[in-house]
């Protein structure tokens, strides 16, 4: 069983707690000058997404979570599960809604996604940081209309809605930052 000591704690490190895999979000070293040292840690449950605070005695060891980050190709979804394939081994896995988070809003078939596997099961799927998607619906922008701050909603081919500048028209392809859900630019 692999373990980590608190000295190895840092953002992103994966641990087992109460039988569930967690990822460290924040790690703070807390020590009164002449007192016990603690690591005060914010952790995200990789199954449920819930964030909790936990305190460890500095120097304590914690079981490592057998978690693997891997690049998989998105195949299709059946409304309940999203299916991914390892392009080299052709192994397939199915990710549920909790694991998908917002990633399902941005991906198209054959996109390569970072999939976090725990005991072979997808825990978390991250869409590529930037995606290129075609606009399927948007109202024509009205010149001089500043009431909406110079932007309007546009629906893209995956069904997601993003705020775009008024000059964007249906059929154009947009570059979108999936982490902030923001329009970055037009693909010409």
């Amino acid at each position: 069983m692999a373990t980590y000591t608190t000295n190895q704690f840092k953002g992103g490190l994966k641990l087992m707690l109460d039988g569930d895999p967690y990822s460290i979000v924040e790690n703070e070293f807390v020590k009164p000058g002449k007192g016990q040292a603690f690591n005060r840690v914010k952790l995200r449950n990789l199954k449920t997404g819930k964030v909790l605070d936990r305190t460890f005695k500095s120097g304590e060891s914690v079981e490592a979570a057998d978690v693997l980050d891997t690049e998989l190709q998105y195949l299709y979804n059946d409304g309940e599960f999203w299916y991914f394939m390892d392009p080299e081994t052709f192994d397939q896995v199915a990710a549920n809604k909790a694991a998908m988070g917002d990633a399902g809003k941005w991906i198209k078939e054959q996109d390569i996604c970072n999939v976090t596997l725990w005991n072979g099961e997808p825990l978390q799927v991250d869409a590529p940081a930037f995606v290129e998607l075609k606009v399927t619906q948007t109202d024509p922008g009205v010149r001089g209309d500043t009431s909406s701050g110079g932007s309007k909603p546009a629906t893209v081919e995956t069904g997601a809605v993003v705020r775009v500048p008024l000059f964007i028209e249906e059929g154009e392809v947009l570059k979108i930052d999936t982490r902030s859900a923001e329009y970055v630019g037009r693909i010409k």
């Binding site: 070293f29 020590k31 009164p32 007192g35 016990q36 040292a37 603690f38 605070d53 936990r54 005695k57």
Partner: protein, 320 residues
């Protein structure tokens, strides 16, 4: 790696730091204390179970037979030897080292301001700490709290409650204490997570009269309950200084050191040798005095509005 040769602090901050250091020196010069320099190296070391020394090896004539030397965690022991030798009130700015301490407010090598006032007690010295702090960060109101009074809102008697009761209190306020913490460690947990972060938010907060288990090198005042004449100073939720009405009883000091060594042995920690030269100095006679150690990097953080200690250090641990 490519950029790690550069300083962590901006040159502007390093210039401001130099000005602050000059103002600290001026403070002590005006008050007429003697500036001293004592060695960073020591053949013995602190035995406090929560303070770890860095070790180093000396090879050559004159050193201890084993060659092992420690880097000081504070200049307290040699400064007390100077006091026992009749130096009068003294101060110094020293580089000190703590093994295993690294975080937003910790670097294993840092700068400590330490001073001693002969004939003073901890109350006199708290007032002077407030003056020094204000001279560096600007005027602020001081407030004084006993250690126990800060636990009262949590329904805790810090001097008497057993570990089980402290654990319950910690759980009630949403902490999950690691298993099998001692009474002292549970107090530290509550202190570090809930109490200390709120201190020094409006002014300078002083905490005094600590539980006797946390007496360290402070004298104990008998009473109900007996308390350690120790204080700490907080600014912006950060511990800035720790001071004592100094214990001058050599036998009592030896008993505490031996108890600390026993704790270290039972926890499988390294057990450094006792500082017999300090104990000999106490036997020869340490004058009645109060002393304080103040973390200058943290005080400069407050003065310069820094949130991370690296912002005020040229080369923190990862860049040495």
């Amino acid at each position: 790696m490519t950029d790690s040769w550069r300083p962590a602090a901006t040159l502007e901050t390093l210039r401001a730091r130099a000005e602050l250091l000059a103002s600290v020196r001026a403070f002590f010069r005006e008050r007429g204390l003697l500036e001293v320099e004592t060695p960073t190296l020591s053949a013995a070391a602190v035995v406090d179970p929560h303070v770890e020394s860095l070790e180093t090896a000396y090879q050559g004539p004159g050193g201890p037979l084993c060659g092992q030397l420690y880097l000081q965690t504070s200049p307290e022991f040699p400064m007390k030897r100077l006091l026992a030798a009749g130096a009068g009130s003294i101060w110094q700015i020293a580089r000190v080292f703590r093994n295993g301490e690294r975080g937003a407010r910790h670097n294993p090598e840092f700068t400590m301001l330490e001073w001693y006032r002969c004939g003073w007690d901890h109350r006199d010295l708290m007032a002077e700490v407030a003056a020094l702090v204000a001279s560096v960060i600007g005027p602020r109101q001081s407030r004084y709290h006993t250690y126990a009074s800060l636990f009262t809102p949590y329904g805790i008697d810090a001097h008497a409650d057993a570990a089980a009761k402290l654990e319950d209190a910690a759980c009630r306020i949403g902490l999950v204490p690691p298993a099998a913490l001692s009474r002292a460690a549970l107090l530290d947990l509550l202190w570090g997570h809930r109490i200390a972060p709120e201190l020094g938010r409006q002014g300078i907060d002083f905490v005094y009269d600590f539980p006797v288990e946390q007496a360290a090198l402070a004298r104990v005042r008998q009473g109900d309950p007996p308390v350690a004449e120790r204080f700490e100073c907080y600014v912006d939720g950060m511990e800035i200084a720790n001071g004592f009405h100094e214990l001058v009883d050599a036998d009592e000091q030896r008993r505490r050191f031996l108890a600390d060594q026993a704790t270290r042995r039972s926890c499988g920690q390294h057990v450094p040798p006792l500082d017999e030269r300090l104990l000999a100095a106490l036997r020869a006679g340490l004058p009645q005095c109060a002393g304080v150690a103040l973390g200058l990097d943290r005080l400069f953080m407050v003065a310069l509005g820094a949130r991370h200690i690296d912002e005020v250090l040229a080369f923190p641990l990862e860049r040495v």
